[in-house]
Subunit: 385 residues, 4 copies
Amino acid sequence: MENLHSILEGNGRGRRTGEVINSFLAILILLNVVAVVIGTLNTFSSQHAELLHGFQVFSLAVFSLEYVLRVVTCIRHRAGRYTHPVTGRLRYMLSPLALLDLIVILPFYLSIFVGVDLRFLRVFRLLWMLKLMRYLPAMGTLGIVVRRERGTLGTILVLLLVMCFTASTLVYFFERDVQPESFGSIPHAMWWGIATLTTVGYGDVVPHSPLGKMLGGLIMLSGIAMFAMPAGILAAAFAEEAKRKNFIVTWNLVAQVPFFSHLSAREIARIADLLHPRTFMPNEVILHRDEDAGSMYFIVSGKVEVETDPGPVMLGKGDFFGEVGLLYTGKRTATVMSLSYVELLELDLGDFRRLLGANPILKERITQEADRRLSRSDSVYQAAG
Amino acid sequence: MENLHSILEGNGRGRRTGEVINSFLAILILLNVVAVVIGTLNTFSSQHAELLHGFQVFSLAVFSLEYVLRVVTCIRHRAGRYTHPVTGRLRYMLSPLALLDLIVILPFYLSIFVGVDLRFLRVFRLLWMLKLMRYLPAMGTLGIVVRRERGTLGTILVLLLVMCFTASTLVYFFERDVQPESFGSIPHAMWWGIATLTTVGYGDVVPHSPLGKMLGGLIMLSGIAMFAMPAGILAAAFAEEAKRKNFIVTWNLVAQVPFFSHLSAREIARIADLLHPRTFMPNEVILHRDEDAGSMYFIVSGKVEVETDPGPVMLGKGDFFGEVGLLYTGKRTATVMSLSYVELLELDLGDFRRLLGANPILKERITQEADRRLSRSDSVYQAAG
Amino acid sequence: MENLHSILEGNGRGRRTGEVINSFLAILILLNVVAVVIGTLNTFSSQHAELLHGFQVFSLAVFSLEYVLRVVTCIRHRAGRYTHPVTGRLRYMLSPLALLDLIVILPFYLSIFVGVDLRFLRVFRLLWMLKLMRYLPAMGTLGIVVRRERGTLGTILVLLLVMCFTASTLVYFFERDVQPESFGSIPHAMWWGIATLTTVGYGDVVPHSPLGKMLGGLIMLSGIAMFAMPAGILAAAFAEEAKRKNFIVTWNLVAQVPFFSHLSAREIARIADLLHPRTFMPNEVILHRDEDAGSMYFIVSGKVEVETDPGPVMLGKGDFFGEVGLLYTGKRTATVMSLSYVELLELDLGDFRRLLGANPILKERITQEADRRLSRSDSVYQAAG
Amino acid sequence: MENLHSILEGNGRGRRTGEVINSFLAILILLNVVAVVIGTLNTFSSQHAELLHGFQVFSLAVFSLEYVLRVVTCIRHRAGRYTHPVTGRLRYMLSPLALLDLIVILPFYLSIFVGVDLRFLRVFRLLWMLKLMRYLPAMGTLGIVVRRERGTLGTILVLLLVMCFTASTLVYFFERDVQPESFGSIPHAMWWGIATLTTVGYGDVVPHSPLGKMLGGLIMLSGIAMFAMPAGILAAAFAEEAKRKNFIVTWNLVAQVPFFSHLSAREIARIADLLHPRTFMPNEVILHRDEDAGSMYFIVSGKVEVETDPGPVMLGKGDFFGEVGLLYTGKRTATVMSLSYVELLELDLGDFRRLLGANPILKERITQEADRRLSRSDSVYQAAG
């Protein structure tokens, strides 16, 4: 049951199966969107009415099952802490994504009791698109950036509206006598104003008087600023966000190394400070067999090849190598080559030893960890040590 | 009276009440804008003429009262210095925002003496939108960035106009015989030119000759550059501005700490240099109870939880912790955890002590401050010390 | 004569007068552009034919005089080196800006000998806009950035054209039977293709078939990428250019200090490395009278106020202060406050002394310089020392 | 034969000739595109049918020859390793660019055996544009950036589609009764939705109801965000990519220096770390003759002039100078001036010596290299030493 939940959430051991199921669900959502859209074509919907209805019932059943399974199988919640079976599930049911799952299927069940326009209900399935949020990994980044810059972006929006109001009022005075049907009131003129300021420019309503045209030209030029400003603000914000993400990558890399995993956050932060970024071009030798071991490496990006005896082993993002050499052998026991442009974090021997000296618990833990590795003859680490 | 002024300005002790009042004023402005816009719809304005007029009179009364109160209650001005009651108020009345407040209500009073078209007067209320400037925090940033890049942005504007003139002249030669009513003169052709260069593209006027169309294609491509250039310039400028703001945040953080608040700017700048940025992931332990106290921390962003005895205390942006441990206990007396992604500034014990050694006045002040804290049993700082 | 040239070029001692003259010339250019544009309005040009012709003759005379003066007064050229009167002037005449000045007035003189359509000649004055280049300071930055990124921008242009060709060919197949007059050949279809890809969207030609509309939707989406790509590239390029400019500012600041002005470039580069950026908020005390003098400062941006005895002195960008204290008094003799957000470069006492120790010539020069300053009682530097 | 291949690939010794041939091929591709496009104009194609056909046959012959030559002359492949004549050529034939070369000419040969619409075949030549990929150097950078940001960009695309679906559904409900022919179904309404969201705004279909127009205004505003978001993301990504490229430049500079060329990647990475960036303004003296030699320099960008005895020598990007002075003379033997804004990487004498001390093989190699240079009297290096 716990496994089933982790499959549905697409994490833990059930990741692969979860990805398949989630892909199926995402495709089902998209098919429903297509069905709703095509269903409004009269020629199509009258011919395939039964097919469309059947598909709606099938989809509803699948998403209802999905919701029930998600709730029922939810035993552990939030950072793996066991919670009470009832309160834990209730808390899950109140989480935003679970609430969304419920809200988008509820109307179909309510319609059995309450009379609802079936046509409207059919179109309502478009809201199932909101379930796609779950599958968009970059939503978080976009949200953070927009929220951080909400003050500046909001100010630009207000400026844009102020300009739109001003332009529409002016054009109303210039054009109301010439074209009373298009510019007879400010709300009418605003239709032209917003279309011009956003550079959409339908052309269904266009000023005819010379003053109106000159104002139009000014508004079009302002439209460029209205595009350039938010683009500039978001560019700066995304650049800062990228820096923050790089830190998280470094942090996670350090926390991932087995014998660092039990360190406190402050100790990890200290180690993260000791790491020096190193970058290698493709097909360069990073470590030479029988060289003196002077440091260990964590891979931030790219791929390296460890030339071990049974055959070459490839290491990628998040892997590390060179630590056995620091602890025991003193010499590199295998050659490591870069396969692509590689970014590494290097921990020097000196810093490594100072860390152990200041921290007897860490020292003991590392010795145990290294012994375990050597004894199980882990060829990768031993070789690359 | 002083309080009333700080309420209206939305700062100092009256901040909360001021926010409520200012929100009310902002909404009143927006409602007036809506009233003006809807008022130009003949069907609506004839039906609700009295309501609209009553609302105008009410709004005018409110903004008149606001202006009078702002002027009358202005006792202290500029960095809290007391000024002469009359000259101080006159100086306030000449400040840009106060002048604006006056100018936008003046015409309504003048109209009593001078005959003004009432319709125009009604629409004049749109200028009240300018009062919104007071409530747009990012206006300053936008202004700084645009002013700093005015040379580059102005050059692009000139380039755009040069291109517009050139394109319009060429299309005038290509099209004047084919479409004399649309391209009969360069000013006529410019209406097409600016609409094409800004990618608005109304389509009310379109070249018909092959040469005119080829020129049109070129102008459209140039339009992309005219968008990309200012966006690129502003992106670089906003990124630099963000750096400047980060410095101001750090500075203010240091200046906020009680026993740093009386330092000179140069000393604060020195301390700001001694601070090391530290970043923590959510749910990480920053300080452990009973650990050796090695540094104090200032929170730049994010939230931390101090696990004190009566119950957990949350600290946020601008707060600091860990300084009592540096001064007296030598050990941490509580655990501090990050609740979100947290950015801290760390001041190491060594730097902290060197600062005190070199500055006996600072040392005395700090000792007094810490004594005060300990004696009033401020659980947060004591615990987190 | 030399002065006259420096006035025309707007540099050296004649800067102020030069600015006035150049503003007059720029306005004259713009007035000519307006005259050309308005002159194509038949109603206007027939009424004011003589006025327009007179203005053209007057402008031509002014620009001819400007060209002759620029050439005749050109004695010194390029970094102040005196050149031979004839070859120097010839070389100046072949410089791009001088050639442009000649080319745009030449046709009017040639037209006396050769028969040219007078109407065309009148419009030819639009080329005088090119003379505005001289007055656009940011042209250089834009040129550098565009040239540095020409590879990437060119690739995007090729991609855009490839997409335009592909889209036009496909829409030609989809629409040629439905709308043979609009999509009857690929060149016809390209008019739609380029207008859609650049998001101009005239709407004079629009696909009617479902396939054509789906293709149109795809092309519109691609249009977004075609805007975002160059904006992104230029943003990164402008950010790098800003860094380069900052270096030039620092360099010039150091080279500006009298006793550094005779150093070699390598020595200036070394000193530039020793400078630490310091930033101050408005109204902060940077130096306190009677404090120990520990460093000297160069102003990168912002304004500071030196509270000297006769009255406060304001220093701005490029000024420096605090060096007399380093050399003689050992104490600050005046208080320096920031008036705005100030960026300074600080040179510490240690680095300052090491510089002198390693460089006896510099030491002698500095001593002489400081003596000169103290003897002429330069209140600013003495006070701020 | 090997030479012929390197000419075709435009690298190695045959670079110059290769550039000419490749320019010819690129122009031939573009001429074919123009021929296809113009060929669909009935008036033109009927008049010049034979010319067009002849040009098609000629082009086909050239590209067939190009393909055969590329395959036949391919002896060495991938990093200069000799491969088996048959398997090597097969592997080359399966590389993406070679496959593309084959695919775009194959249909013309197949058409001899299979009956194909000749008109379609003619238009098929547009695909030859894909061969231009080979000549677009920035394709790689664009590809890397887009691939790295594919998650974020994909999320924005999904958001855009969700907004398009939502807007189209809403406008369908608002407008289907007013304009059944334009908004009679959601697919019909989507034509308006996508044109509005991308700010294309044809204006052939426009909402008439007040609700539809308000929705339209909202969609237009969202369109701005849809442009600003990807522009911002790509700006941050291009800035990071620029940093990565700078590293590669530094790396290649170091690896280019003859006596570093045999170092391992790790040693090059170490040396790259020891290099200090130095920047000089145009016309500054970098090295003075007879000064003490304290460091050697690598040119990252810009040009310098070495004032040697026979005449000045210009060095550019990738060149280096000052190393002979470090090894033998101890003094600079020539003056080096910057001709433009120059970025250098400086290797200090101390680091240079430590490198030699720790690495006897390197020391021997350097001595040999320097001897070779001095003996062949390489004036540039000797002078600049």
